[in-house]
Symmetry: C2
Subunit: 337 residues, 2 copies
């Protein structure tokens, strides 16, 4: 996450240091401001709007009993998002962000709702314990759909969330294969497995991992183990970065999509602002591998983009510091004695 100093960096540093506050007194908000400048290639980007896009899809591996909740919950939660009752909805309202919901591949028949964006690749992935979760064509279609979805979005800052029973398993396997990190450290309880459930999930993921080479490229890992929501989020991140917008990366699943996006286009990393540290233990492993220091650490592990949403006001404040805060000179405030 540390780039060599550039002209932009020194311009921004000088701008921040001239603001009416002791040097460095805004701590990580100043670091976030520098990241925003880099992401937008602008010393003082004005960032006033934020949109969350939630991608929902189902996972064939859910049939192996890797989640505490039944697969039907993916579909039920899509309806909950559309009715405004989920945590993501109420958090978005609290922080002034808008929400879109995308069917990337929910199991069962298509969900008919006027506010749902239908981009379903298939009615869920195949079971990655046995075979690749998706074909290369499905993967590329999902990535393309994600890219297109952000082109339609005028917001200054983009958050991406997800819903998909079984998707901590997908994210775990992607991170394991792409980063070559030990599998055990990446496996967690997801929505709340008990000890027996965790043991079963661990055994399933170990077997699924053994089906392919120890290390895979990002795109291959996405085919083998990914979900349509993860692939579409990857595309959305690629598109958002291409348009020079900051991306607020949510938790464990979103960070696995970010890993794939970075693997495909390393320059994407410049646009990623890591919003929070999830309580899902694998998230800290991935963040460390990316040398990322997230904004919040609230022991949340819900997904949906909830962590990204809560970091948006901090990002907005960092932007406002750059654009609207007075300098010692403009405010007539004395410097150190």
């Amino acid at each position: 996450m540390t780039d060599p100093p550039t002209d932009l960096d020194s311009t921004v540093r000088k701008l921040i240091d001239g603001k009416t506050k002791p040097l460095g007194a805004l701590g990580q908000v100043e670091s976030v401001a520098l990241q925003l400048a880099r992401a937008t290639a602008t010393p003082a980007p004005r960032l006033e709007s934020c949109e969350l896009t939630i991608f929902a899809a189902d996972h064939g591996i859910a049939a192996e009993g890797v989640s505490a909740y039944p697969q039907a919950v993916t579909r039920q939660m899509v309806l909950n998002f559309l009715h405004g009752g989920a945590a993501a909805n109420v958090f978005a309202g609290a922080v002034g962000a808008s929400v879109r919901v995308v069917d990337a591949g929910v199991a069962g028949d298509p969900i008919g709702h006027p506010d749902l964006l239908p981009r379903r690749i298939s009615a869920g992935t195949r079971n990655c314990l046995i075979e690749p979760a998706m074909t290369e064509t499905q993967r590329d279609n999902a990535i393309g759909a994600g890219r297109n979805l952000v082109e339609d979005c005028p917001a200054d800052v983009l958050c991406f969330g997800e819903m998909g029973i079984g998707n901590t398993s997908a994210a775990t396997l992607i991170a394991h294969k792409v980063l070559d990190l030990p599998l055990a450290g990446l496996i967690g309880r997801g929505t709340g497995l008990d000890d027996a459930g965790l043991a079963r999930k661990s055994a399933v993921l170990k077997a699924a991992s053994e089906r392919t080479a120890p290390v895979l490229g990002a795109e291959a890992a996405l085919c083998e183990y990914g979900g349509f929501e993860i692939a579409m989020m990857t595309g959305a991140m690629l598109g958002a970065a291409r348009s020079g917008r900051p991306i607020l990366v949510d938790g464990f699943i979103s960070t696995s999509a970010a890993l794939v996006a970075i693997g495909m286009e390393p320059a994407v990393e410049r646009n990623l602002i890591f919003a929070h540290r999830s309580a899902e233990p694998g998230h800290s492993e991935i963040l460390e591998a990316l040398n990322a220091r997230p904004i919040l650490d609230l022991a949340m592990r819900l997904g949906e983009g909830t962590g990204a949403l809560l970091a948006w006001p901090v990002v907005r404040a960092a932007s406002a510091m750059l654009t609207d805060m007075a300098s010692f000179e403009s405010a007539g405030v004395s410097g150190p004695a």
Copy 2:
């Protein structure tokens, strides 16, 4: 910070556990929600507005060279607040909070500005290295003014900030005397002292501390070492708690005011939500003594209420979770398999 379980607690816990999310998946946001319920004595308080009141005052001990900045900066920053150019102003705009500015006792002539609330006790405190910073009458007048100021404020949640060159010295001495913590661990660089400045500040505070008994009651410590902004903030906290409103406690200085308020009325603690952990090292010492886990940890050390403001969206989200989020039952979402 841990009260015995009450009927309210179990009602709120049940309400939170019924929301459409895995048990405990919103982590600290759930703890904050419980605190909000306790503070308001309501299972699901609707908290939609927030106001920051900034108290400004000067400190006689500034004459001893305990700050990196000249005393004139207090007054200059008051004008900066009134013109909307300070970090507190731009952060308030970013998070949707309003701002009031109070002259609690800035050095020099009264500042004439239509938006400034004039509550000055005196043109700064006396030098607490030599004598008590304020009289008991001044202290009581300041506390009373703070209480009255919150009565005039209709906001659901209250943030208090401060400006006063030299006030980390005042806060350090208050915490040292009230909590009986070692002085050295409470002394920091404030606005940015260099090593020589820090050594000077340490020597001055040691001498100032030796002027009085090793341990003082909260009200006595406030007289001996406090500032008018700290005393007025103490009164505002007492008043806010009395009105059943949550208080977002900012950083090191604000937490010293909270210590005095708790010393005067222990029940106030129920209304205090600790917003962030300051980079001023003494803040962690006080937070630990209070067994408080703040919401944010962004290495900020500016004061003005900036940390409290950035925590407001999290508090608002916690409230919205209680009031607006669907339950498994209302949304027709399945529970664990």
